[in-house]
C-alpha cells in the first residue's frame, strides 16, 4: 500500500535541544519497522514527525513516494495507536471506531459494516455499546487497534502500545499485532523500548541512541552482528557481556590483567564481547585451545526454569552466563567461563564493531 522514506530527518526544539540528529530509514511496502532505543533517544519524536504531530526541522518524510512535510496529520491518511490508547471517553466503542470514517464522509451503511467486521476480527462485537471506562486495559488496547484498522490507512503507527499492559497480556497482544499486520499488509512503524518486543515484531529493526540510528537491519542480523557496543548491550536479554581490553606488546590483556592466548582480529580492539548463551562454565582445569577461557567467581545464580543465569565476576567485569536447566554452581564457586572464539565480538575504541 505504501512505502515510508525518511531522509536525513532532524528535529530541533525551539529551546535548542536536538532530539533527532539526522535519521534516514527506508521502509518497504507492507513491512513492520520497529524503532527501539532507551528513553530520550528520539524514537517517539521521529514517530510523531511521521504522524505529522511534530514539525520537521530538516530533511524529508515521504509516504508512498510523496513528501508530506507540509501536510498536516488530518490529511496524511495515517492511523496511530497511542500508549495511553487516547480513546474518546464520551463515545461508545462503536463511535470511537466510526469517528474517523464519519469525518471522511463514508456512507452510513459502509461505516456500519466496516466497524462490525473489524470488531469481529478483534473480538469486540459484544463491547460495541460500552464506553471506554467500562473496559479492561486489554480491551481498550483492542479498541485502539480497531480504531486504527477500521480506517484502512496507508500507514500504521504504534507508540509503545503495549507498555500499559501486564506481562502476560503483552505477550498475547504482541503475537496478535504481528499476525494482524501481516494479514492486513499495512506498512507500520512501531516504537518501543522493550527489546523483546522489538526483536519479535520487526521486519526491519532500527536501534536508536541519542538522536541517531545506531544500526538498521533484520532483527537476527543485528543480534548476531551488533554494529556497536551500544547495540550489543541493548539487544538481547540478558545483554552481551562486554570486557574492556588493554593492549600490550604480547597481545590484548583484560582489565584485571588476564592475558588472552589468541590474537584479536585488529590490534586496536578495545572491547571484547560474547553473548551469555555463547558461553559455558566448567570446573575442570584442562587446556581449551581456540577458546576464550576466563577464571570467574560466581556471585549469584538466577534459575528461571528452563535455563539458569550465572552472574560472575571475571576479567575485571561482571558477566552473565546462560546454562540450560539447573545450574550445578552456587555463589562463591570458583570456575572457568569458556566462550568459543568464533562467537566472540570485537569492538574498537569508539565502540564500533571490528571483524
Amino acid at each position: 500500500m505504501a512505502t515510508v522514506d525518511l531522509k536525513d530527518v532532524k528535529k530541533v526544539y525551539p529551546s535548542g535541544i536536538e532530539a533527532v540528529k539526522g535519521v534516514s530509514i527506508a521502509i518497504p511496502d507492507k513491512e513492520l519497522c520497529v524503532l527501539v532505543g532507551p528513553s530520550g533517544c528520539g524514537k517517539s519524536t521521529l514517530l510523531r514527525m511521521i504522524a505529522g504531530l511534530e514539525t520537521i526541522s530538516a530533511g524529508t518524510v515521504a509516504i508512498d513516494g510523496k513528501v508530506v512535510n507540509a501536510i498536516g496529520p488530518t490529511e496524511r491518511d495515517i492511523a496511530m495507536v497511542f500508549q495511553n490508547y487516547a480513546l474518546y471517553p464520551h463515545m461508545k466503542v462503536y463511535d470511537n471506531m466510526a469517528y474517523g470514517l464519519r469525518n471522511r464522509g463514508t456512507p452510513k451503511d459502509e461505516i456500519d459494516s466496516r466497524v462490525r467486521s473489524t470488531a469481529k476480527v478483534l473480538e469486540l462485537s459484544a463491547l460495541l455499546d460500552r464506553r471506554p471506562r467500562e473496559l479492561s486495559g486489554g480491551q481498550r488496547q483492542r479498541v485502539a487497534m480497531g480504531r486504527a484498522i477500521v480506517r484502512n490507512p496507508k500507514v500504521f503507527l504504534f507508540d509503545e502500545p503495549l507498555s500499559n499492559l501486564d506481562a502476560k497480556l503483552r505477550g498475547q497482544m504482541r503475537v496478535e499485532i504481528k499476525n494482524l499486520q501481516r494479514k492486513l499488509g499495512v506498512t507500520s512503524v512501531y516504537v518501543t523500548h522493550d527489546q523483546l518486543e522489538a526483536m519479535t515484531l520487526a521486519d526491519i529493526l532500527v536501534v536508536m541512541n541519542a538522536g541517531l540510528v545506531e544500526q538498521t537491519g533484520a532483527p537476527l542480523d543485528i543480534y548476531e552482528k551488533p554494529a556497536s557496543t551500544f547495540v550489543a548491550s541493548f539487544i538481547g536479554a540478558p545483554p552481551m557481556n562486554l570486557l574492556a581490553l588493554t593492549g600490550s606488546s604480547s597481545g590484548p590483556i583484560l582489565a584485571d590483567g588476564t592475558a588472552i592466548d589468541f590474537a584479536a582480529p585488529e590490534t586496536q580492539a578495545a572491547t571484547l564481547g560474547f553473548r551469555p548463551e555463547d558461553a559455558d562454565v566448567t570446573f575442570n582445569a584442562e587446556a581449551l585451545p581456540g577458546a576464550l577461557v576466563l577464571p570467574a567467581t560466581v556471585e549469584a545464580v538466577e534459575p528461571v526454569g528452563a535455563e539458569s543465569f550465572l552472574h560472575c565476576a571475571a576479567g575485571g567485569s561482571r558477566i552473565v552466563v546462560r546454562v540450560s536447566g539447573r545450574a550445578n554452581a552456587k555463589p562463591g564457586d570458583q570456575l572457568r567461563v569458556v566462550a568459543k572464539a568464533e562467537k566472540l565480538h570485537w569492538f574498537d575504541q569508539a565502540g564500533k564493531r571490528v571483524d
Binding site: 504531530l53 496529520p73 487516547a86 464520551h90 469525518n103
Partner: protein, 278 residues
C-alpha cells in the same frame, strides 16, 4: 451538634422561617398593626402584572447573562490556549475584572454608555445607532446584561482554561489523525469533555444572574426605565425597603426560594445525566 449544622440553622433555616412567617402577615406602613392573612399575599403577588413582568425580565436577563458570560469566556479561553506567547499576561488581564465590585462595575458601564456623557455611547451614536438606555427598555437590558456578563466572564474564563487544560492532548492528536479538522475537533471532542465544567458554570452563572446582580441593577438602571429591567431580586428590595410593603416582599422572597430549589433540582437531575466525567 455539628457546628456546620448550627450555622445552617442560624443563618439559613431561621431567616427562611422568618420570611415564610412574614409572608403571611399584613402590616401597615408604620408597623403599628399586623394581621395574619394566610396566603393572601401570595395570591396578590402572583396576580400582579408587575410581578409577572418581573419574572419575564428575570428569565430574559438570567439566560442572556449566562449565555453571554459563558460563550465569551469559552471563546477567550480557547484563544488563550492557542496563544503561543504572552499566555500568562493574557490570562492575568482577563482575570482582573473579577476583582471589581459589582456596584463599581455597574457604574463603569453606566458612565461608558451614558447617553449624554458616555464615550462609548457617543461612538454608538456616531455609528448611527440611536442609543438611549435611559428611555429604551431594550437598550437598558442590553447594557445590564453586558455589565453583568462582563463581571462574570473572568470567573468562567478561569474555569474554562482549567477545563481545557484537563483535556488530554493525545485525544486531540488522535482526532486530528482521524481526519477531524480544528472546528470539528472542538465540537466533537473538546466541548463534550468540557461538559462537567460547563455544567458547573451553568449552575453558578444562573445563581449569579438571579441573585448576585442586585448591585449592578441598582447601579446601572435601578430597574428602569419603567419596570423593564426590574428583576425578581430587585423587586423584592423595591417592594420591601422602598415601598415598605413587607408582606408582599416576604411572599416574593419565598417564591424566589422555591424557584432556586426547583432550578437546582432540575439542573442536577436532568442536565447532569448527560454530562460525562472522564
Amino acid at each position: 451538634m455539628a457546628p456546620q449544622l448550627a450555622i445552617t440553622l442560624v443563618f439559613f433555616y431561621w431567616p427562611a422561617g422568618q420570611a415564610l412567617y412574614q409572608s403571611m402577615l399584613r402590616q401597615d406602613p408604620f408597623g403599628l398593626r399586623t394581621k395574619f392573612v394566610w396566603f393572601a399575599n401570595f395570591r396578590k403577588v402572583l396576580a400582579d402584572p408587575a410581578y409577572l413582568n418581573s419574572i419575564k425580565v428575570t428569565v430574559v436577563f438570567s439566560l442572556a447573562t449566562a449565555i453571554v458570560a459563558m460563550g465569551v469566556a469559552l471563546l477567550l479561553a480557547v484563544m488563550a490556549e492557542k496563544a503561543m506567547r504572552g499566555k500568562g499576561l493574557y490570562r492575568t488581564l482577563l482575570i482582573w475584572p473579577y476583582a471589581v465590585a459589582p456596584a463599581i462595575a455597574g457604574m463603569l458601564w453606566l458612565f461608558l454608555f451614558n447617553p449624554s456623557i458616555g464615550s462609548l455611547a457617543y461612538l454608538l451614536r456616531s455609528l448611527g445607532i440611536a442609543w438611549d438606555p435611559l428611555l429604551n427598555g431594550t437598550h437598558a437590558m442590553i447594557l445590564l446584561v453586558s455589565a453583568a456578563a462582563w463581571k462574570q466572564i473572568s470567573y468562567n474564563f478561569l474555569f474554562f482554561v482549567a477545563g481545557l487544560q484537563a483535556v488530554p492532548k493525545t485525544l486531540i492528536e488522535a482526532a486530528a489523525m482521524d481526519g477531524a479538522g480544528e472546528t470539528k475537533r472542538f465540537w466533537t471532542i473538546v466541548f463534550p469533555l468540557l461538559a462537567p465544567t460547563t455544567f458547573f458554570l451553568l449552575v453558578v452563572n444562573t445563581v449569579y444572574a438571579l441573585f448576585d446582580t442586585f448591585g449592578i441593577v441598582h447601579a446601572v438602571t435601578g430597574g428602569g426605565p419603567g419596570k423593564t429591567t426590574e428583576t425578581l431580586v430587585y423587586k423584592v428590595y423595591n417592594d420591601g425597603f422602598v415601598n415598605l410593603i413587607l408582606g408582599d416582599s416576604a411572599a416574593q422572597s419565598v417564591i424566589l426560594m422555591v424557584i432556586v430549589i426547583a432550578l437546582t433540582a432540575i439542573q442536577f437531575r436532568y442536565v447532569e445525566r448527560k454530562v460525562h466525567y472522564g
